[in-house]
């Protein structure tokens, strides 16, 4: 299956060629954690994953065509 991924700010460095927006092929049944693994994001990294506009846990399974957004939680006020 293929998912579309957007990485922001602190996570841009894990995107292929530093691209903001890319598609990636994953095995059927892959979870968010598998995607992070494929991109080489260390497990300890503080991040938020949103799939199709919903914040999800790392164990959440992905579906073909999902839009995944990854970003470090940015604080401020």
């Amino acid at each position: 299956m293929i998912v579309r991924v957007k990485c922001f700010t602190g996570l841009r460095r894990y995107a292929p060629e530093g691209r903001k927006d890319f598609a990636i092929e994953l095995d059927a049944g892959a979870r968010v954690a598998n995607l992070l693994d494929r991109l080489g994001v260390p497990v300890a990294t503080d991040l938020i994953a949103a799939v199709n506009g919903r914040r999800v846990a790392r164990e959440t399974p992905l579906q073909d065509g999902d839009a995944v957004v990854l970003f470090t939680p940015m604080e401020g006020g």
Partner: protein
């Protein structure tokens, strides 16, 4: 004394008299400094029922014991007075370099009473102080005022001043220090203007003495090393994109207020977020005194209409003037921000008031002829022009200068003002972040999150992620964060560093690291319990002031839009904010009555029963 300078300067503007007073050690320990000193002084000296813009109002500028010590982000001061926007208290703080200079000049706090007959400024130089004529500065921008004052006093002096907006008593005028740092909210600038006080200028060459310099240094090195190691692991968004980076978080969690809070996501968000800001306009970062983060933005815009150079914007400005007005032109937002800095205006209330006017026009409750120009959603030129007119109270700007509540109420539609206690909200939608609604409704200054920021646990996952859509159990966590904020604001620290680095990693956020710093700096030997109690004391004393000013549960509210209209879009679609449910739980946590009034036993336990008027 150590940490504290041990001196307060009292300025009677009516009589032109200055008097130094010693800081009482017990009050210092019980109220810490900054925000705590502010309420300690106001509750004894200010009439909660007074007209905020009259000579009767009292204004306090107070630093904390960690200000100027070199503790990370120990750079802040607090301005507390009765607010002309809300009728409640203010709690406006800022960093930069001015607060540290004030301590180096020998003072913990300044108390202003009365009203000067003519415009004056206060000049403080290493322990001595005088009031000087400021007629030649009246009408000048904050930048021009700062430059002129430095050339007539000392090139190294630090300045906090008001701009034309404060002089004209715009209800949300700011006090600006070091040119572009704002004690922005609740109209503290208008209070200064009403007292004919144009500026406070300080030069200090002293040092803040530490009780245990060795212990302070060791803890400081350890803290900075930990901070740096964590920043290597996950680069800090605040350093890279400033607070503007938060747009990415709020947009994706559906809590980016848009179209005067009619939506929780903005289609034009990619044009206004922190990465766009960094790529197109950032010149360099700027840090307050002793800050390892450096979230400040020096920016430059090359544009025939919106060009300029200055500081900003912060996330809050981008929400208020950007998504909330549906303006996706970041250059226009930045231009309006520059005008606010130079004229001395709060960007949040300015943007939110224009958004409210846009909805009033859209719904047919306000005619464009009255405004004097077209005012459609997304009109960046209107944003800039109306900001300028507000500072000058020119034409329709005179009505905007009263804030969104008074504007909307004067047209018969107060429900369109997105406010709590008549103060406009910062940029987090409570329907998608429930505790935020509770924080807005219970904040002593009205619509604000900085007095206990649930965004940390609901949106940023610090110290641990909590479901933003759940409302049960939120009261307890919100109270803990409010208590922590009271300690941070009183110690003289910046919330952006302290919450992550100086509090325990559990949801009751004990101020463990702050305690270490405070004890090494002051020698006051706070137990953790005493420090938490001090936070509760400050919050309860503020509440007591509000009750005396006539506030109660019926003022701890949110607009019906947030509690009765389901959010139409984004991840929090279909949600309302469950304020009433959280409020009952919150009062119980505070040990306040069902009407939100602190109980006699609570007051006694915190030592608040005696004083106060």
């Amino acid at each position: 004394m150590h940490g504290w300078m041990g001196k307060i300067l009292r300025v009677d503007l009516t009589r032109g008299r200055l008097r130094e007073e010693p800081l009482e050690p017990k009050a210092a320990k019980d109220f810490i400094g900054g925000r705590g000193f502010g309420i300690h002084i106001l509750r004894r000296e200010a009439d909660p029922g007074c007209d905020p813009l009259s000579a009767e109002n009292v204004m306090v500028m107070a630093t904390g014991p960690l200000t100027g010590t070199g503790a990370p982000t120990g750079a802040r001061y607090m301005i507390m007075t009765k607010s002309p926007l809300t009728g409640a208290i203010t709690c406006s703080n800022a960093g930069g370099r001015f607060p540290t200079e004030l301590k180096q000049a020998g003072f913990d706090a300044l108390i202003f009473t009365g009203k000067a007959e003519q415009p004056v400024y206060l000049w403080i130089e290493d322990g001595s102080a005088e009031l000087r004529d400021a007629n030649h500065l009246w009408g000048k921008t904050t930048h021009a005022t700062t430059d002129m004052l430095r050339s007539e006093t000392d090139a190294k002096a630090r300045v906090a001043c008001i701009g034309p907006a404060g002089e004209r008593l715009v209800r949300f005028a700011a006090v600006m220090n070091d040119k572009d740092r704002a004690a922005g909210r609740s109209g503290v600038g208008a209070v200064m203007g009403s007292k004919n006080l144009k500026a406070v200028v300080v030069r200090g060459t002293g040092k803040v003495a530490l009780a245990d310099p060795e212990r302070f240094k060791a803890f400081n090195q350890e803290t900075i090393a930990r901070f740096k190691a964590a920043a290597r692991e996950t680069p800090l968004g605040l350093t890279i994109n400033g607070t503007a980076g938060v747009v990415i978080t709020t947009q994706h969690l559906g809590v980016l207020p848009t179209k005067n809070w009619q939506q929780g996501t903005f289609s034009g968000w990619e044009q206004i977020h922190g990465e766009t800001l960094s790529a197109k306009y950032l010149v360099r970062n700027k840090a307050c005194y002793a800050c390892p983060i450096g979230c400040g933005r020096i920016t430059r815009v090359e544009d025939p209409v919106f060009g300029g150079e200055g500081e900003g914007p912060e996330y809050e400005t981008i929400y208020a003037m950007g998504s909330n007005c549906m303006v996706d032109n970041l250059a226009a937002v930045i231009k309006a921000n520059y005008i606010c800095n130079e004229q001395g205006l709060d960007t949040i209330t300015m943007g939110a008031t224009i958004a409210c006017a846009m909805e009033l026009v859209d719904k047919g409750f306000l005619q464009e002829e009255t405004v004097g120009r077209p005012l459609a959603w997304g009109d960046g030129e209107a944003l800039v022009e109306l900001t300028r007119m507000t500072a000058a109270r020119e034409g329709f700007g005179d009505r905007l200068a009263e804030g969104s509540y008074r504007l909307a109420a004067s047209l018969g539609h107060p429900e369109l003002a997105m406010v709590a206690k008549k103060q406009e909200f910062p940029g987090y939608e409570p329907r998608g972040a429930q505790a935020m609604g509770l924080a807005y409704a219970t904040s002593p200054i009205g619509g604000s999150h900085m007095r206990g920021d649930p965004a940390y646990f609901e949106l940023f996952g610090i110290p641990e992620p909590v479901d933003p859509l759940e409302w049960r159990g939120k009261a307890k966590i919100t109270k803990s964060f409010q208590d922590l904020s009271a300690v941070i604001d009183s110690a003289g620290l910046c919330i952006f560093f302290a919450v992550r680095n100086l509090a325990g990693k559990s949801l009751d956020v004990p101020p463990t690291g702050i305690r270490e710093y405070l004890n090494a700096a002051t020698g006051a030997d706070y137990t953790l319990e005493e420090l938490i109690r001090a936070g509760e004391r400050i919050i309860t004393a503020e509440r007591q002031f509000l009750i005396r000013a006539g506030f109660s549960r019926r003022d701890d509210t949110l607009p019906a839009r947030l509690t009765a209209e389901p959010l139409p879009d984004g991840p929090a679609k279909g949600m309302v904010c469950h304020l009433e449910e959280m409020l009952d739980e919150y009062y119980r946590e505070q040990n306040w009555s069902e009407e939100g009034i602190p109980t006699a036993e609570r007051l006694a336990a915190l030592g608040l029963e005696e004083e106060g008027r």
